[in-house]
C-alpha cells in the first residue's frame, strides 16, 4: 500500500510540472505582449512599458522567466489581479469556500441518489423501473446544464416564486463569514431565518450542478453491479444460502463500489467545469464565476493563477480517490 501511495505521488510530480508549464505559457501565448493586453485601449507610453516589462522580468530568457515563475509559485505568490490589485491567492481563498460548499452539496446529492438508483436498476434489470431510471439518467447525462439552470429559474423562481434567482443568501442578513461556508456561518450567526435563506439559495444551483454527476454515477453503478452480479463469487454467496439482501448489499456491492469510486473521483473535473456555468447562471460568488469574469475583464494573471490552482485541486482530489481506491480494493492494499 505504501509503495502504491509513493508511486502515485511520484506520478503527480511530472504532471504538476507540466501544469505549471501550461499556466506559465498561457500568458506568453496570448497574442500581443501582456502589458498591451492589460493596458487595453488606454494605451501605455513606451518608456513606462519598457520599465514595467523589466520589472516583471519579461525581458529575460524564457527558461529564466519560467524558473522565476516556479520560484514564485513555491512561495505562494501567484501574481496580482490587475483589476482588484489583490493577490490572486487571497482572492481565490476568499471565493473558494463558496464553490466547495456548492460542489459538496452537488456531489452528495449525486452519490446519495445515484448509487441506490443504480443498484436498484441493476437488480431489477429490464423492468419498468430500470428503464425509467436509466432513461432519466440518460436525459440528465445529455443535459446542457446552463439551459437546465435557466429552465429551473423560470419554473421555481419565476412562476412558483419558491426560490431566489441568484446569490448565496438574502441581502437582509448580514453577519461575519468566518468559515466561508454559508450554511455553517448562517447557523452560527443565530439570525432567524438566515439558515433557511442560505438553504433556499443553495438548492437550485446544487441540483443543476449535481445533474450530470448524478446521471454518470447512476449509470456506472448499474453497469458495475450488473458485471459483478455475474461473477462466480456472487454465485458462491447464493450457494451459501445467504439472503438476497446480503448477497446484493454486501457481496456484490462491495466489489461494485470499486469502479464507482473511481467514477466519483472523476466527477471533480466535471463539477469544476459545471461550476463555471452554474455560478455564472446563479451569480454564485465562487471561483467559476470569478474565472469567467476575469477572462472577460482580461485579468490574465487571475486566469493564470486560477488555472494552476484548479489543476492542483483536481490532482489532489484524484490522489485522495486513488488512496480510497486502494483502501477498498484488497488486491492493492495487500501487495
Amino acid at each position: 500500500m505504501l509503495r502504491f501511495l509513493v508511486g502515485r505521488i511520484g506520478l503527480l510530480i511530472p504532471t504538476f510540472i507540466g501544469v505549471t508549464l501550461v499556466a506559465f505559457s498561457f500568458i506568453r501565448l496570448l497574442p500581443g505582449d501582456p502589458l498591451d493586453l492589460l493596458a487595453g485601449e488606454r494605451g501605455i507610453d513606451p518608456e513606462r512599458k519598457a520599465e514595467l516589462l523589466r520589472q516583471m522580468g519579461f525581458d529575460k530568457p524564457m527558461w529564466q522567466q519560467y524558473l522565476m515563475y516556479l520560484g514564485d509559485i513555491l512561495q505562494g505568490d501567484l501574481g496580482t489581479s490587475f483589476v482588484s490589485k489583490k493577490p490572486v491567492l487571497t482572492e481565490f481563498l476568499t471565493l473558494f469556500p463558496a464553490t466547495v460548499e456548492l460542489a459538496l452539496c452537488a456531489i452528495l446529492l449525486a452519490v446519495l441518489l445515484g448509487i441506490p438508483a443504480g443498484i436498484f436498476a441493476a437488480v431489477k434489470r429490464g423492468s419498468f423501473f430500470d428503464q425509467s431510471i436509466m432513461g432519466t439518467a440518460l436525459v440528465g447525462y445529455s443535459m446542457p446544464i446552463f439551459w437546465w439552470g435557466l429552465l429551473l429559474i423560470i419554473l421555481f423562481s419565476g412562476i412558483l416564486q419558491w426560490t431566489p434567482v441568484s446569490g448565496r443568501i438574502s441581502l437582509i442578513y448580514f453577519f461575519p463569514q468566518d468559515t466561508g461556508f454559508m450554511l455553517i456561518d448562517s447557523l452560527r450567526s443565530g439570525e432567524k431565518g438566515a439558515f433557511a435563506s442560505a438553504v433556499r439559495h443553495l438548492i437550485l444551483p446544487s441540483v443543476v450542478l449535481a445533474t450530470i454527476p448524478l446521471a454518470v454515477i447512476a449509470r456506472q453503478t448499474r453497469s458495475a453491479m450488473l458485471e459483478v452480479l455475474g461473477e462466480d463469487y456472487v454465485r458462491t454467496a447464493r450457494a451459501k444460502g445467504l439472503s438476497p439482501l446480503r448477497v446484493i448489499g454486501l457481496h456484490a456491492l462491495r466489489n461494485a463500489l470499486i469502479p464507482v469510486i473511481t467514477t466519483i473521483g472523476l466527477q471533480v473535473g466535471v463539477l469544476l467545469a459545471g461550476a463555471i456555468l452554474t455560478e455564472t447562471i446563479f451569480s454564485w460568488p465562487g471561483i467559476g464565476k470569478w474565472l469567467v469574469d476575469s477572462i472577460s475583464r482580461r485579468d490574465y494573471f487571475v486566469v493564470q493563477g486560477a488555472l494552476l490552482l484548479i489543476a492542483a485541486i483536481v490532482m489532489i482530489v484524484n490522489l485522495i480517490v486513488d488512496v480510497l481506491y486502494g483502501l477498498v480494493n484488497p488486491r492493492i492494499r495487500h501487495t
Binding site: P31, V139, A273, I276, T280, L307, A311
Partner: protein
C-alpha cells in the same frame, strides 16, 4: 502449386474466385446483420438514430426547410410568442426573439453548426487519439510514459476551463472553440486506445501474426487496431455529443460562435436576459441541444450493447 489449380482452366478459375468472393461477402453481411440485430434490440437506440438522421437531412436542406432566413429581423414582431400562445403568429411557429428573428428557422440553421462541430471535433480528436494511443500502448517504455504524462496534464484541467483558456488565447469564435474542444477530448481517446492495445498486444493472434512475419506497422494498425475499435466507436459517439454540449457552453459564455450566428448556445446567451419575460426564446434552443445530444447518446448506448462482446455472449 496444388493439384487443384494445376488442372483448372481460366474459366473455372474465375468461377471459383467469384464463388469465394460471394461467400466472403456473405460472411461480411452476416456480421453486419448480426450487428444490426443487436443494435435494433435497443429501441431507444433506433429512435435516436432515426432522429439523428432526420436532423442531418434537415441541416443539409436547411434553406429549403426553414420558413425564414435565420437573420431576417421582422421589426413588427419582436418577442412574438409561439403560435399556440395568445398573441402568437402563424408565420412564426416557435415565436421570434428580441430582434424579431424566427426562432424555428434559426434552430434549423443552428443544426448545421452543431453537427459540423461534432464531426470536426470527433475527427480531430479520434485520429490524433488513435495514433498516440496505439504508439503508447504498442511500444510501451519511455514513449508511453511521455505521451501518458502529457495526457495527464491535459486531464488535470476541467475540460471547459481548458477550452475557455484556449479560446482566450486563440480568440473567441467557432473554429477556435472546435480546436479547443478537440484538444480537450483527445486524451480520452488516447487512454482508451492505449488500454485496448495493451489488452490485445499479448494475445495469441498477435504473436501468431508476428511469427508470420508482420512488422510493427502491420501489427499496430492492421492486426491490433481493428480489434480495438469497438470502445473507440462508442467513445466517438459520446464525444460527438459532448462536443456539441461544450461548444454550446462556450457559445453561452460568449466564447464560442459569435452573434448573430444561429448557434444554439449563442442563441441561449442572447436570450438570457428575457428568461422571465419570454420563456420561448430560452426554452427552444436548449431543447434542441438536449434532444440532439440525447439522440446521439442513445445511439452510443445502442452501439455499446451491440459491440460489447461480453453482453453478446451472455
Amino acid at each position: 502449386m496444388t493439384e487443384a489449380s494445376a488442372t483448372q482452366t481460366p474459366a473455372t478459375e474465375t468461377a471459383v474466385a467469384a464463388k469465394l468472393a460471394s461467400e466472403s461477402r456473405n460472411a461480411t453481411k452476416a456480421m453486419l446483420t448480426e450487428f444490426w440485430y443487436y443494435f435494433s434490440q435497443n429501441r431507444g437506440a433506433v429512435i435516436g438514430l432515426a432522429f439523428f438522421l432526420a436532423l442531418v437531412v434537415v441541416a443539409v436542406f436547411a434553406p429549403l426547410v426553414a420558413p425564414h432566413a435565420p437573420d431576417t429581423q421582422y421589426r413588427d414582431s419582436f418577442l412574438t410568442p409561439p403560435v399556440w400562445e395568445a398573441g402568437g403568429k402563424a408565420a412564426f411557429l416557435l415565436g421570434t426573439d428580441a430582434v424579431g428573428r424566427d426562432i424555428l428557422s434559426r434552430l434549423i440553421y443552428g443544426a448545421r453548426y452543431s453537427l459540423f462541430i461534432g464531426v470536426i471535433v470527433v475527427t480531430i480528436a479520434l485520429s490524433g487519439g488513435i495514433v498516440l494511443g496505439v504508439i503508447a500502448g504498442y511500444f510501451r517504455g519511455a514513449v508511453d510514459t511521455f505521451i501518458m504524462r502529457v495526457m495527464d496534464i491535459i486531464l488535470a484541467f476541467p475540460s471547459l476551463l481548458l477550452a475557455l483558456v484556449l479560446v482566450a488565447i486563440l480568440g473567441p469564435g467557432l473554429t477556435n472553440a472546435m480546436i479547443a474542444i478537440a484538444l480537450v477530448l483527445q486524451p480520452h481517446f488516447v487512454r482508451l486506445t492505449r488500454a485496448a492495445v495493451l489488452s490485445e498486444r499479448n494475445r495469441d493472434y498477435v504473436v501468431a501474426a508476428r511469427l508470420a512475419g508482420a512488422g510493427n506497422m502491420r501489427l499496430m494498425f492492421k492486426t491490433i487496431l481493428p480489434n480495438c475499435l469497438s470502445p473507440l466507436i462508442v467513445q466517438a459517439t459520446l464525444s460527438f455529443s459532448s462536443a456539441i454540449l461544450d461548444a454550446a457552453a462556450l457559445g453561452f459564455l460568449g466564447m464560442g460562435a459569435q452573434p448573430p450566428t444561429p448557434e444554439w448556445g449563442t442563441m441561449l446567451a442572447e436570450a438570457r436576459e428575457f428568461i422571465l419575460r419570454a420563456w420561448w426564446v430560452v426554452t427552444f434552443p436548449g431543447l434542441a441541444i438536449l434532444i440532439t445530444v440525447l439522440a446521439i447518446n442513445l445511439v452510443g448506448d445502442g452501439l455499446r450493447d451491440a459491440l460489447d462482446p461480453k453482453l453478446k455472449r451472455s
